[in-house]
């Protein structure tokens, strides 16, 4: 089997600092890569990728990627795609909010209970996709 790090699915959030959606994207990523699927997923700095860091660019071109964007501006999706990745899944946090009318998620600094709940929901969705992708690659 290839080195485990190199085969991990990359989960790349936008981490937009101005909106709570960016924080949800970031925290959902950590929930997946640290909690739910630490053996099969990892993250990567989006800005490093945009900067053209060789290691980052190689990683997105050779490993399956899931992007998480806070808002419809799709900064992560667009930049990961520009870097040459074939994105396996694109998640938009704002879509998750559409299932939670009236939610009070918190702020761009700190999530409230609703925010963590939506974060965990998104994380579960992504973790399931990661398992699906890894299960598909096993011989």
């Amino acid at each position: 089997m290839a080195e485990s790090a190199r085969s991990k699915v990359l989960v790349i959030p936008c981490s937009g600092i101005g909106k709570v959606h960016g924080l949800v994207a970031r925290e959902a990523t950590y929930r997946v890569v640290e909690g739910l699927e630490p053996e099969t997923s990892d993250t990567l700095c989006l800005a490093l990728l945009v900067k053209g860091d060789e290691e980052a660019v190689t990683a997105v071109r050779t490993r399956p990627c899931i992007t998480i964007d806070g808002c419809p501006k799709l900064c992560s999706y667009k930049n990961v795609q520009l870097a040459g990745s074939n994105i396996a899944e694109s998640v938009r946090v704002v879509d998750a909010f559409k299932g939670h009318k009236g939610a009070q998620p918190g702020t761009a600094t700190e999530l409230a209970e609703d925010g963590w709940s939506i974060t965990d929901e998104i994380a579960q969705q992504i973790a399931a996709r990661v398992r699906e992708m890894c299960g598909g690659e096993e011989q």
Binding site: C71, V94, K98
Partner: protein, 283 residues
């Protein structure tokens, strides 16, 4: 009173979309107290539905074969509204599934599609409307820090609640201004009025919700709602992306435009208001 329709669904007994067509048809008929047309019986005994076809017709096809559309065409019926279920589901990121018995999720989708059918503009008038409400050619901007607020200078009237009305002939489209959509942030829900509803000037004509707030949409003009923009229910971010054109909310036929106009702001006056407000802008 809401408009009544005759509804002609396809049959599709052997496909998953067939039962969905039936569910949507039933929901539409119930909502508008219309008439349901059985495609098989209509094909054999069209006279059975002589009264029903006097109503405006909604045609529901399950798939690209479009049996119901063809049937209506063969009998010379004019279609007021139509739905192709497979296409509509695809646009929503959904599928019809495999089962001939719709599950709860698909039944919910059927109800949503039925609502949309009833709120959609009539065939033929939709294109005319779009042409009438052409994109503004001139925008002024107000910049505050990194935020840029756009204001169309011609053809739009505004109220002090940052809602606009774009006038074309005896109709007006309404929506929320760029300042308001930026203040609210990413919109997650949009509620639209019912077609046929009468709205007073400065009355509520819907609402939008973001993670920050729920805000009523205050109609700058009075009139009767003749169309709503169903696209913003499915994708409220359209209002964020393009608040003055694709993000329109409802279309009204006027009440009293001239007396309404006296209480509204034109582009220049609204520009001055936004300049003043921008100093207090807190995203």
């Amino acid at each position: 009173m809401a408009e009544r329709f005759a509804v002609l669904p396809c049959n599709g007994l052997d496909k998953a979309v067939g039962p969905l067509a039936r569910e949507i048809a039933l929901a539409v008929v119930e909502a508008c107290q219309g008439e349901l047309i059985c495609p098989v019986l209509f094909n054999n005994l069209p006279e059975r539905y002589a009264k029903a076809v006097e109503l405006p017709l909604i045609v529901i096809d399950g798939c690209g074969t479009r049996c119901a559309t063809k049937l209506a065409g063969e009998h010379g019926l004019k279609t007021a509204r139509k739905l192709q279920i497979a296409e509509a589901l695809k646009l929503m990121g959904e599928s019809s599934g495999e089962s001939l018995t719709p599950d709860a999720q698909r039944l919910a989708l059927c109800r949503l599609l039925a609502e949309r059918l009833l709120s959609a503009p009539e065939e033929g008038t939709a294109a005319e409307s779009e042409a009438a409400f052409a994109e503004p050619v001139e925008y002024a901007t107000v910049t505050h820090d990194k935020f840029i607020f756009r204001i169309p200078m011609k053809g739009y009237l505004f109220d002090e609640n940052h809602c606009w009305a774009h006038i074309a002939g005896n109709r007006a489209r309404v929506g929320i201004a760029d300042y308001m959509q930026q203040e609210l942030g990413d919109l997650t829900f949009c509620e639209l009025p019912q077609i046929g509803a009468e709205v007073e000037q400065f009355g509520e004509i819907g609402s939008v919700e973001s993670v920050k707030a729920v805000s009523d949409i205050i109609s700058p003009v009075s009139g009767r709602v003749v169309a709503v923009n169903a696209a913003v229910v499915e994708a409220p971010e359209l209002i964020n992306e393009d608040p003055y054109v694709r993000g329109w909310v409802a279309e009204l036929e006027f009440g009293e435009l001239e007396s309404d106009r006296a209480l509204l702001l034109d582009g220049e006056a609204y520009l001055a208001l936004v300049r003043q407000k921008a100093a207090d802008y807190r995203p």
